[in-house]
Amino acid sequence: MKKGLSCREAFTAELEELARADRRIVALTSDARGSTSLAAYANALPGQFVEVGIAEQNEIGIAAGLAAVGYRPYVCAPASFMSARSLEQFKVDVVYSRMNVKIFAVSGGVSYGALGFSHHSIHDIAVLRTFPGLRLVIPCDGVQMVGLLRALENSDLPAYIRVGKAAMPLVYRAGTEFEVGKAVRLRDGDDATIIVCGEMVAGALDAADALAAEGVKVRVLDMHTLHPLDSEAVIAAARETGRIVTVEEHSVNGGLGAAVAQIAANHRPVPVRTLGFPDEFLVAGGSADVFRHYGLDATGIVAATRELLLSGD
């Protein structure tokens, strides 16, 4: 697969276009215009850009206030801080108050793999899935980033958009449209289903293709929206394929896998394997190294799927 723009580059280019057409759009950052690729936007649209300094709690509160007087704010900052430091402001000032604030959370998961647990955000799905009315998306490439951004911008609901740092292989053709809360079936198959999101999608497709070469037909669902989660797609996968493997750049506690297992257990109990980070402080390294270490690459996904198919339950 050929590499496209990183999600953050795709995001800021699209945001600039949207902001030119709608003067209510405003971007906020907490001294992170570099890491969020916002420098060009800030130069082009200074009247729709607010620098808050290194003060994430204040940043979310200010964004909520801007929304209260009619703006459509996008807070652009690292996921590790947005999902922890300013979590209470997001919970109360934005989600509970139903303010139209969208967080663009960059360098999610282990994008900052070598920088330590302070900079990892492998807990954000777990906590944010408990915020009623919040839409949580994790795009897998620049095309999906743009499609989801357009879909989210069409709504007044708050959102948390988590992206990684790296430029990702293009999974989708330019211009593909996406519906928030609706999974995309990327491969057909009825032996098992791999349910996956974000940077893991490309590896899951490679795994499905490798398994297909062995005659194992695996369905792949891109679960780009983690909340609200497409439970119909999960139930259909359970019913039609009988086995599910989930893959995510997140702790196995409370993430995509936990959500899928809960839906399956409630509606159509089938064996589920959840691939993600174990309950530990993660090994240091670039994100690709960290993924490989924990079996979150095509090789690991193939092995887990085979093991599930052979387990006989």
Partner: protein
């Protein structure tokens, strides 16, 4: 509204909120009584509001950062006609929207608060947005003194001055008590005025129970200085009810029948002196 009428209104609101707390058996009584005069000055004289059109584009914006002092606010909104006064009987009861903190499902309330230290940041965002849009509306935030210990307040203080938000007014209900006791013993705030001045605000220490002073000061138009204004309103926790005044345990608490009767007698006496 004339000052004399405002004084009577403040007595009536104290009466309403005590009756509501007594009837519904829940409430943060002390802080509601210390902030009553500030809210009466804002809602009946200073701020532009339209009870028939809570989202009126020309309204002034209000954020109750000390969200636990919600009782006076909702009694005022009901009295102004934002919603039916009979609904006050549902305060904190099963299924109500009149919960123990501001809830923006209630007409006239902009923001949900309750977690301390949030309100000023939200008010900064409102004031910044209004400036960006060239709108003349003003923004008011009432804070507690206890919540001055929250770091996020000082992030907001820095930003309010940095953005030159002279359309923003903060008020601290300086009743010198928080739930565990004297603010200076729990976590000293003084020199509070000096700290706010050092952060770039135009700071005034005023009597938080003198309605003439409150109206004059809070009502003063933005002066173009670029400095946000901060009023340290010296107040008495439990103001108006002798048994509750300056007693930390009345941070929350429900008066029994005898205490309610005593409170009503004291308020009637105050009303007699006001007439």
């Amino acid at each position: 509204m004339e000052i004399q009428e405002l004084r009577k209104k403040a007595i009536a609101i104290r009466r309403d909120l005590l009756a509501m707390i007594h009837k519904c058996k829940a409430g943060h009584t002390g802080g509601a009584l210390s902030s009553t005069d500030i809210l009466v000055a804002l809602y009946y004289s200073v701020m532009k509001v339209d009870p028939g059109n809570p989202h009126w584009a020309e309204r002034d914006y209000f954020v109750m950062s000390k969200g636990h002092s919600v009782e006076g606010l909702i009694c005022i909104l009901a009295d102004l006609g934002f919603f039916d006064k009979a609904e006050l009987d549902t305060f904190c009861r099963y299924g109500t929207r009149l919960i123990g903190h501001p809830n923006n499902k209630v007409p006239g309330i902009e923001m949900n608060t309750g977690a301390l230290g949030h309100g000023l940041s939200v008010a900064v965002g409102m004031a910044k947005g209004l400036k960006m849009a060239g709108r003349p509306n003003r923004v008011f935030a009432v804070m507690g003194d206890g919540e001055q210990a929250e770091g996020s307040i000082w992030e907001a203080a820095m930003a309010g001055a940095h953005y030159r938000l002279d359309n923003l007014t903060g008020v601290i209900d300086r009743n010198r008590l928080q739930i565990s006791g004297d603010t200076e013993e729990v976590m000293g705030l003084e020199p509070l005025a000096g700290r706010w001045r050092a952060f770039g605000w135009d700071v005034h220490e005023i009597d938080g129970h003198d309605l003439a002073v409150l109206v004059d000061n809070l009502g003063a138009k933005p002066d173009g200085s670029g400095k946000p204004r901060l009023f340290i309103a010296e107040t008495v926790k439990g103001k108006g009810v002798r048994e509750m005044e300056n007693v930390a345990k009345w941070h929350h608490g429900v008066p029994d029948d005898a205490l309610l009767a005593s409170a009503m007698r004291q308020l009637a006496g105050e009303e007699g002196r006001t007439a």
